[in-house]
Symmetry: C3
Subunit: 269 residues, 3 copies
Amino acid sequence: MDWKLWEQIANIHPLIHQITNVVTVNDCANITLACGASPVMADALEEAAEMAAASNAVVLNIGTLRQEQLEAMAQAGESANKRGVPVVLDPVGAGATRLRMEAVDRLLKRVRFSVIRGNASEIGTLCGQRSGRGVDADEDGLKSLLPAIRDLAKTLQTVVAVSGPVDYVTDGKREAYVENGTPLLTRVTGTGCMLTAVIGCCLGAGIDPFHAAILSLAAVGIAGEKAEASLSNREGIGTFRVRFFDEISRMNSDTLEQAGKVKLLEKPV
Amino acid sequence: MDWKLWEQIANIHPLIHQITNVVTVNDCANITLACGASPVMADALEEAAEMAAASNAVVLNIGTLRQEQLEAMAQAGESANKRGVPVVLDPVGAGATRLRMEAVDRLLKRVRFSVIRGNASEIGTLCGQRSGRGVDADEDGLKSLLPAIRDLAKTLQTVVAVSGPVDYVTDGKREAYVENGTPLLTRVTGTGCMLTAVIGCCLGAGIDPFHAAILSLAAVGIAGEKAEASLSNREGIGTFRVRFFDEISRMNSDTLEQAGKVKLLEKPV
Amino acid sequence: MDWKLWEQIANIHPLIHQITNVVTVNDCANITLACGASPVMADALEEAAEMAAASNAVVLNIGTLRQEQLEAMAQAGESANKRGVPVVLDPVGAGATRLRMEAVDRLLKRVRFSVIRGNASEIGTLCGQRSGRGVDADEDGLKSLLPAIRDLAKTLQTVVAVSGPVDYVTDGKREAYVENGTPLLTRVTGTGCMLTAVIGCCLGAGIDPFHAAILSLAAVGIAGEKAEASLSNREGIGTFRVRFFDEISRMNSDTLEQAGKVKLLEKPV
């Protein structure tokens, strides 16, 4: 694994256009800055395509949908595709309601994604296996899902990244497991959205989709581990969240090399 | 007071559907997680009713209204009522503009609430006594409002919780005063909204509305007190806010028992 | 420079009505409280004008535009103008898309602003010199822009405040440079929006536009300097952001007098 790739974000300082949800939009902008990239969060229909065309990567996140915003996402994605700007999708809560399933279908029909990042429940829904229960994921079913996930990656010619206790990344041929992270990351809202934003930063810095996903999963997981390790027993989730941002802003290739727990499999098992 | 009820949130891990304002939506999601529940913030008209039906409690907050969102709130509330899912209302800034008064009227006509939580100014407006001055409340008038508040609770068959220097809770018959808290809580945006979200967590965990309101007022007040006590003289409102989240995430029945200042009156005084 | 003016915010405790973007709306509300003022963030078309009329100052920020919100901004501005309530404009990303340029044009036609605050790229766009590149600014061109900025201030009869490595303020006749700040402020989202909110707090407290802009630039810059100086080498951007809020909440005229780096020029150079 070439951990030096991470440094490209700060060196290239890419502009990352994000159409995302109102819950975590501030966190996504801040994590983008913390990585060394520059965020722009423009979701108006009138400017989405124009902004996407001027960006180095586009992040689409369906966490809180409005019809107009969904069309803005599709147009931003198409505009990016036309110009070779990479696009990453976060299908938040994909299995939870019909609206979200239809939204994902519509985006997949109109936009080619370099990476799709979700939890096991969301990615399972994209594989045709709806599970429900809002945004939270049941991660037990990951193993049984693997063949379907590989098929999904092949069919859509994309990289699929499944975050969970152990993260999984595949482009349909190559595979990787990332074992960094802590359950505390699930106790803060937006860590999934932020992970997808970090993938956007990597893509915008010219890193290939497969390694962009792996790097991002490792970086976010390691930042979580370090933030947790720093907590005194009087501190809790508020301090954890602050230190998480501290650690992302201090992340570099040495830390990644030292702490990254990645298993790369060149062929499907 | 049975403080052990608090533990039910983490044990049951309820899903709390919240249609709320864009100012504090991130804080509300994070406080929900900090309590041990799971948030979903879906405000699109197309999915609000569906999401409410799949949730353990629904939180409606009119802090930043759009017409479409107001209709989503009404439909989410009706959907919850149909299935016995408890609903809590936060009538933010109810007295400040006509739009907000009409919004509250419309919601009260279509939805039955288990709890309504506001400051004295907002609850006074619901009692027909408009005071104005935006989101802030004048708390002096609480005493003179008590009879009207009890009537409101009886008429709407709901629990009314009035937060302020001393908090007041009534279901029209029983009453309680909660004396926890610190003025610093009014120096951070969203502490009222978060309080309402915590009531939603309690309701979603199966706690009855009267005790859900008392528990939440005590928990938020105690967390504020502890956060304030932890501040060095070089720290200010930013650190206070972080420690407040720390304390909520570490809250348990022992702390509540030790620090809770609740006076329960079984009959109206 | 009369630094005592700062204390007027906490003394008068003005109500600041803000129609702003979804990315930093929470930060803007919190900075307003930290300054000692009271925020209300009401962007619905039905109540914007009513709320503006009841406020002590209005802040308009085009960071994330919807058509309806733009009209709400115009109506809030007109309503404020009618009643002598000061209005401040933050033309976020003005040069980045056609939508934003049209939005600024429309607002400038309908509303008279006491202060317009942007970075060099945004203010350059208002001067007719479009530069592009999203929200970030290239600050090198400030010097060559100065004559155009003075003309802009004169034409619009407003105070123009340009934030950057060195900040610049002019009303077309008087000028000031503010040299407080740190590059870390550009690594946190919303510091520009928050700066504009602080200007709103000063205006709402009755401070004249020229000194309101200078005071705010100094206060935000000094808070950034102090927050940076407090960081240990294990801390990063997350802690910086928390301490920034700490410092704003502890800001007073003594600190401003001691640390403020302001050069006032009564005549254009």
